[in-house]
């Protein structure tokens, strides 16, 4: 990859701007928080950073959270690149969780086969789930934002039903399933970071290649910039819409499988951790560029984990969401088309 000096300058500038925005927003948010709850500001900063990057263990935890966000971010990018709004990442992750749990708990195959089957089936199931929205959009122009969002609520309800009802383990304080067999659990790289992280890294290269080096990726971009022109140049936009939704949903499903096989070893409420929604933010912050996805995913995982650390001080973890919202919008600002108009 050759990068010219001027390109390097722009990207360094952009990176500095983004980091500046992050540092500023985070500082203001933490400062205001400390004022609101009357805790020493140094303590607030201390808790935030020790929970996120303060120790080897907490850093590993951030990386553990990065993994599902990263994989779903890459998935969502495939759809966003083609101008299709897959906002149902959360639901597709949940479906992946359901499929993987079901396979590992109820099928009687050798463990390695179960693992393989989990990944494959969750990719297909979540891919099909996304594909439905893609099909409705391609065939009848049905708005995919509304459909994928509704699908998310339905998938969440299905998970809730399963862990409350037929798959309920019966033990434990909150509804959840039994743990999956030992053989199906993914090995840890260094506890709590599991080997899904490596799959995530592989996905970066795969999606980068898919989006930038293949005809498919080129067609996606062509379709996004001008659907009609792409169609008249012989690109099958209907097929492309459906396919991008399938890949997009499928990757989110894989992320869900990773959560079961690598982290929780079971299905339970909140297992998807809103990662699908965070991935949405990450994909847009990274401007749908696969090589930037890990940074965006790490950033969000860092904020998430730091905000979780603040709950020890009685601060709500929603602080993370606020900071993400502000940083997200601030990162968009340089992309504004023009100066102030109108009022």
């Amino acid at each position: 990859m050759m990068i010219s000096i001027s390109e390097l300058k722009t990207s360094v500038k952009a990176a500095l701007y983004n980091v500046g925005i992050l540092v500023f927003t985070l500082s203001v948010a933490l400062f205001i928080s400390s004022l609101l709850v009357g805790i020493d500001v140094r303590e607030v900063f201390g808790f935030f950073f020790s929970a996120s990057v303060g120790s080897w263990d907490s850093l590993l935890r951030v990386l553990m959270r990065t993994t599902p966000i990263l994989i779903s971010t890459l998935g969502l990018m495939v759809a966003f690149r083609s101008g299709v709004w897959n906002v149902g990442g959360e639901g597709q992750i949940v479906l992946g969780v359901i499929v993987a749990t079901g396979i590992c708990l109820f099928l009687d195959f050798p463990p390695p086969l179960l693992v393989l089957l989990s990944f494959l089936a969750s990719f297909l199931a979540s891919g099909a789930y996304g594909g439905v929205a893609g099909f409705l959009k391609a065939r009848w122009g049905v708005n995919e934002i509304a459909i994928t969002m509704m699908q998310t609520f339905i998938a969440l309800a299905l998970l809730q039903y399963l862990i409350d009802g037929p798959w309920n383990w019966g033990a434990g304080l909150y509804p959840r399933t039994e743990k999956i067999p030992l053989g199906t659990r993914l090995p840890f790289i260094a506890y709590p970071l599991n080997s899904m992280f490596l799959i995530g890294v592989v996905c970066i290269f795969l999606i980068h290649f898919l989006l930038t080096k293949t005809v498919f990726g080129y067609e996606l971009r062509a379709m996004r910039s001008n659907r009609v022109a792409a169609f008249s140049h012989g690109i099958d936009t209907a097929r492309l819409t459906i396919l991008s939704m399938v890949i997009s949903g499928g990757l989110c499903g894989v992320a869900g499988t990773g959560l079961v096989l690598g982290e929780y070893f079971r299905a339970q409420a909140g297992v998807s951790g809103n990662y699908g929604f965070y991935a949405l933010a990450a994909a847009l912050m990274a401007d749908n560029t696969a090589s930037l996805a890990p940074f965006a995913a790490f950033l969000i995982a860092f904020l998430y984990q730091g905000a979780l650390g603040l709950t020890a001080l009685g601060l709500p973890h929603r602080l993370g969401e606020v900071v993400i919202g502000v940083v997200f919008i601030a990162i968009l600002l340089p992309r504004a088309v023009t100066g102030l108009r109108g009022i």
Binding site: Q160, P316, R318, G325, F328, R341
Partner: protein, 291 residues
């Protein structure tokens, strides 16, 4: 008895109706606002916040439930109408921001508040806000159909360039519609928190914002369509809640909860199958760049 059940079901109408009206207004002028869910949450918070700090009056609190969320309408207008950022992307950012802020401020600045008051007077056991919601639909309908302002809004949503050439201020029109729209969404949220739930809880909007967003689409951007869809989904949501409360479970409760969501998917698909995207304002989502 039947009548009481019915009026308690439709008493939820302002939540869905006002949110949909807010979204409708913005979309009619050509601006997507997909942060409905979050802006409603922020409105819900603002209402309860005002109730606690600015004297215990539901009416005044609802006014603040309208006023505070205007900031998100202004933000959307600045970023998208004036600066040409992508409306969908910014919408997601605002969704995160507004919902996050509501949850964050709720735990930091708001003690647990119980709204003791109820809205009076009641007519057919429905409070004034219910009738005001219907009235505001009527007012917006009359403005859209029979006034110059209505024509302006529609022109800006359909063909901003043509509108501009006859001297209409495209930016101003979109600003007003988008900002007012956010206010209506906030109002819907504050009605939910102040009147129906009598307090603020986490995730109280529970996807109603997204349902409201969707029903504008299969109302095909007509106000009567949006109105009746809102009424229909109010009934669906009401029946769903009633079934759960009464313990009449033909299906597991998790399946009953998603009846409205299934309803949206079916309705949207049907609308698509039957008539493409008919009725969608032609420049919805497009930034207007003045030459």
């Amino acid at each position: 008895m039947v009548f009481d059940a019915l009026s308690s079901i439709v008493s939820f109408f302002p939540v869905i109706g006002l949110a949909a009206l807010g979204g409708f207004l913005g979309q009619k002028s050509g601006v997507w606002n997909i942060a409905i869910e979050g802006i409603m949450a922020f409105g819900a918070f603002s209402g309860v916040f005002a109730y606690h700090y600015f004297g215990n009056s539901i009416w005044i609190s609802m006014l603040f439930g309208f006023l505070f969320p205007l900031i998100f309408g202004v933000l959307l207008s600045v970023l998208c109408v004036s600066h040409g950022l992508d409306q969908i992307i910014v919408g997601f950012g605002l969704w995160f921001l507004s919902e996050g802020l509501a949850g964050f401020l709720y735990l930091t600045v708001l003690p647990s508040v119980k709204v003791a008051e109820t809205l009076e007077p009641k007519l057919l056991s429905l409070d004034p806000v219910f009738y005001l919601t219907i009235a505001s639909f009527a007012v917006v309908y009359v403005i859209l159909q029979y006034s110059k302002h209505g024509l302006t809004i529609k022109a800006v949503g359909e063909n901003p360039k043509a509108a501009d050439s006859v001297g209409i201020n495209v930016y101003q029109t979109r600003w007003i519609c988008t900002t007012l729209g956010a206010g209506f969404m906030g109002l819907a949220g504050s009605y939910l928190s102040l009147v129906i739930l009598q307090g603020f809880t986490y995730d109280l909007i529970a996807s109603y914002g997204w349902v409201a967003f969707a029903l504008i689409l299969f109302g095909r951007w007509t106000l009567p369509g949006t109105f009746f869809n809102a009424l229909f989904f109010t009934l669906l949501i009401g029946i769903q809640t009633r079934l759960q409360v009464a313990g009449i479970l033909v299906l597991p409760s998790e399946f009953i909860v998603v009846i409205p969501h299934f309803g949206v998917i079916v309705a949207l698909s049907l609308a698509g199958i039957l008539g493409k995207k008919a009725g969608m304002p032609a420049s919805l989502g497009d930034y207007y760049a003045k030459e």
